[in-house]
Symmetry: C2
Subunit: 567 residues, 2 copies
């Protein structure tokens, strides 16, 4: 440990900085490893109360918040602070690199991307003016044009060619889509989206002062052209000529479903022509492809996005199926000139005479001002892996989901929602009602064994049911780890079966009494429940061609081996 | 170099990840050092065209964008990609750790903060649900309450106590301030701010669908109570009872000026009482303390913020005077319940039964959904340095600004705008008109010698004049490097004098012909101009008590030594 490491005032840049950082990042890695070892599984056990207690203990904070805690009067030095707090963060992480952590669109980043991201923190360019980020801003422009070109075809970089902005993620990108529609069409614009659309779509309308979107029922989990047609006709009758923004989804959070984009684009075009020929405000299309958009990299799968290139704007996240650390969002348009409503002046950042003298004007490339160069890690990843390498990871990850679906299908104790459209698999123990499903998820969380998500959908009902009480609740495995193996998947299913309240274990024909499944106390009290007696063994089901020998799921008990499926 | 380093598919987490990252971060540090050595100064020379050419060369991109460039079909591997692109970013950086890089609120991050930030990229917790960020979300809650408590007094952590949200920066925080006012008072709320307010204030009103703010003239660079009173009276006459949000500033971008907060809070309170007693919508106060708010850490300087604690909400940035890598914004309120209008439901993230079972609901803590744990580096920094250590850095940095101001004042060739309120010093060569000032800045940028900002203000005129043409243009040194020494400051002033177009070098009494100062071709063409003949030596001025021997500024020529002032 060199002398710099304990001087917390050393800057990251300059000659001293690199030396200090070589030493301090060593401390970080040690802390990450030690924390992960203490955790010993995909997430800490004991639930929120236990984690909060542990955080307070490390911070030296009293329960009532009176002790110095997180803001002491005198510092402890760089090494101690990194050791204790990075160790705490690692010990208390839900680690997306663990195959049993599969709840959300919360990806395990690539090491190369995380390493590149470090240089953003060290150099600290800010993307709001050229003189804070000379090369980073140029690199961003290249990446944005290349990715927009991959999406819209042709080549970026020419005036009027495809372009994109870097965002904090799908929520901001969807907001930009709605904002550009408002700026193009005025505050009378109506947003029309499927019941399956992401919550950020109505939130964007709220933020921007627009009326509540028209939600089109999505009985099969997608926005269908016929449903959209009906909604547009009905809206046209109520508010003739009102401008409309249709928001479609390529990869829902709940199921990964991709709306039939070509069919929707046909309807949008038809109504746009009709509206404009009648002097109306027209109809535009924004596609939220935050999750599914990365299929663009896959030669085999990109056809599933057919029609995406017809959208007026597209949301894309590289921190989902792109293995980037958060944030790595994009907002793409077929013609960069569409971004001009975001142009903005601040004399200290883009004075007219500076712009005239050749200093690039960057302020219109975001709603933020100061802005981290999130593009740097993306650029490094694209160069390191190439289009083919990223595409192979996408293929592999979707393959992991197919394999999990096959394992579920082959097990008579489990019910599969349907074949995965992307990398999300919904399933549940046969006959488990909403309460039991929710309890299984919370039990696995509370015991620190697995992180699974939940989705309130029904096969015949709307894409986003009202809540867990409707009986349409499923466990959701959002698979984003391309390296998850069959053993990991079997372990995950075994944990689910094992966590099912024993009163809910029944033969596949009989109903589960609603009163029998209760949320576990673990997630309330922080005290893990006592180890459970494993569920009674269930005979293997008939082999399935798709699943091979996958039909035998070994129930996993609450022993330590259950928390280290790869060991 | 171990075998992992070239496998670009290795994840950052898990056991393989740490090993790969130890190796890959070594590649990053090598690339940072090599890039900085190639740069050889505070920013690359040659201006935007030269930087763009260099980026294209490294990317292997043709000028027309046709070559594979940033998105090759096959990857080059992790080591090559990190070496080339991190090296490129470093070579083409405007490095805030170089004391000659002092244009913007663009701070040199602390090594300890950058190292901590790496763990955010590796662990990749997302702050929108507990099961993606168990410990990180708990740590965030502690930091937010502690910082809000530092600002508002009392202690955070109790229901109804001070609280804060983590944001991407001042722009988002100001947007939240306006949004909460809109949600509390309806879309009829009028924003009233000084002419010195940050551009993000009117931008927030635009974004949120509100009318253009009322801009109160700020002839002395601050919003004054009398001016506010007049504006509120006039608005009350035009729109009786309309709810109002007053936005004040603690540390303007242009000059660092701090509005008289206590006096403004008095006026706000008076008009709020008057409005409400008449059945009106009331008057609220938001303070944009993105820059100045960090004086809270300084025992000696925090009195300058007197009245800040009376604001209904406050913007604070730790990536300005807090030495954090971007982003580290905060939005603080005296009572956490004021944040409830941001509450939001998405069944997959915060279902009612999960919340009832004890899983924390995090979705209302941001307008974003997926969200990087920017708080981690802040927590580590606060612990490493303590309140006193951060305060000492604030004091030291403001001291650097005072020293620069003294050096300017002592030099008869230079004119000082006024004593610095924070760490911003405005100055210019005596008699230099706006064109000459702008040209000096661009010349230093184009030659890669120094990064200085510009501010269009006049001593008696408005805080934000209309542009550079008004004659009120100053060079702006925003000093954020606490370790800048007197030699650095002298070098900076010497570079300015040296860069002045020779036709603009005149005795302090005569005017500079307007036509003599032109933007340099360097920033347009990318070709650095030929080395200049140093300006004629100017005799040392009379010694000044404040400046001691500082009155002799050595003009620095275009030799390589000019680009390495610390060597």
């Amino acid at each position: 440990m060199d002398a710099f490491a304990d001087d917390a005032r050393v800057l990251a840049g300059g000659s001293e900085g690199a030396a200090a950082l070589r030493s301090l990042t060593g401390v970080v890695f040690d802390a990450l490893e030690a924390g992960a070892a203490r955790r010993g599984g995909p997430l800490p056990s004991g639930g929120p109360a236990a984690v909060a207690e542990r955080v307070r203990a490390v911070l030296g904070e009293s329960r009532d918040g009176r002790a110095a805690g997180v803001l002491p009067e005198e510092g402890t030095g760089a090494v101690e602070a990194l050791s204790s707090l990075v160790g705490l963060a690692a010990e208390g992480a839900a680690d997306p690199a663990d195959p049993l952590c599969a709840a959300h669109l919360h990806c395990p980043p690539l090491a190369v991307a995380a390493a590149a991201d470090l240089s953003a923190s060290v150099l600290n360019p800010s993307m709001d003016s050229w003189d804070q980020a000379p090369a980073a801003s140029e690199l961003e422009a290249s990446v944005c044009r290349a990715l927009a070109g991959l999406l819209y075809g042709g080549r970026g970089g020419v005036d009027g060619g495809p372009d994109a902005l870097v965002t904090t993620g799908g929520t901001e990108s969807n907001q930009l889509g709605v904002l550009l529609a408002r700026e193009a069409s005025g505050p009378g614009v109506r947003v029309v989206c499927g019941a399956n659309a992401h919550h950020s779509v109505p939130r964007a309308a709220w933020l921007l002062g627009l009326p509540e979107p028209v939600r089109v029922p999505a009985p099969r989990g997608v926005l269908e052209p016929a449903g959209l047609r009906g909604a547009l006709e009905s809206l046209g009758a109520r508010a003739p000529g009102a401008p409309v923004l249709v928001v479609a989804t390529a990869g829902t959070t709940d199921t990964g479903a991709i709306d039939p984009l070509d069919g929707l684009a046909d309807v949008v075009r038809e109504f746009d022509v009709r509206s404009r020929s009648g002097g109306g405000g027209g109809v535009r299309l924004h596609v939220d492809a935050a999750y599914g958009g990365m299929l663009l990299f896959s030669g085999g799968l990109r056809a599933r996005l057919s029609g995406l290139e017809r959208a007026d704007s597209v949301t894309l996240d590289l921190h989902k199926l792109g293995w980037q650390p958060v944030a790595a969002g994009l907002f793409a348009v077929p013609d960069g000139r569409a971004l001009r409503p975001l142009d903005h002046r601040a004399d200290y950042l883009n004075a007219d005479d500076d712009t005239a003298a050749g200093l690039p004007d960057l302020l219109g490339r975001s709603l933020r001002t100061t802005r981290r160069p999130d593009v740097l890690k993306v650029a490094v990843t694209l160069r390191a892996l190439g289009r083919a390498g990223v595409g192979a990871l996408v293929d592999r990850t979707c393959g992991v989901a197919s394999r999990l679906a096959a394992l579920v299908e082959a097990d008579p104790r489990l019910e599969l929602f349907g074949p995965p459209a992307l990398s999300t698999v919904l399933f549940r123990p046969v006959g488990a009602d909403a309460e039991a499903v929710a309890a299984v998820r919370r039990r696995l969380l509370g015991e620190g064994r697995a992180v699974l998500g939940r989705a309130a959908v029904s096969r015949e009902g709307g894409g986003a049911a009202e809540g867990a009480g409707c009986g349409g609740l499923w466990l959701k495995a959002t698979l984003l780890n391309p390296h998850a193996g069959e053993g990991d998947l079997r372990a995950l299913l075994g944990l689910v079966l094992d966590a099912l309240p024993s009163s809910a274990v029944r033969d596949a024909a009989g109903p589960v009494p609603a009163a029998s499944a209760r949320p576990l106390s673990a997630s309330r009290s922080g005290t893990p429940p006592p180890p459970r007696v494993p569920a009674a063994p269930v005979p293997p089901s008939a082999p399935s061609a798709a699943a091979g020998p996958a039909n035998v799921i070994t129930p996993v008990t609450a022993s330590s081996s259950a928390r280290s499926p790869r060991s």
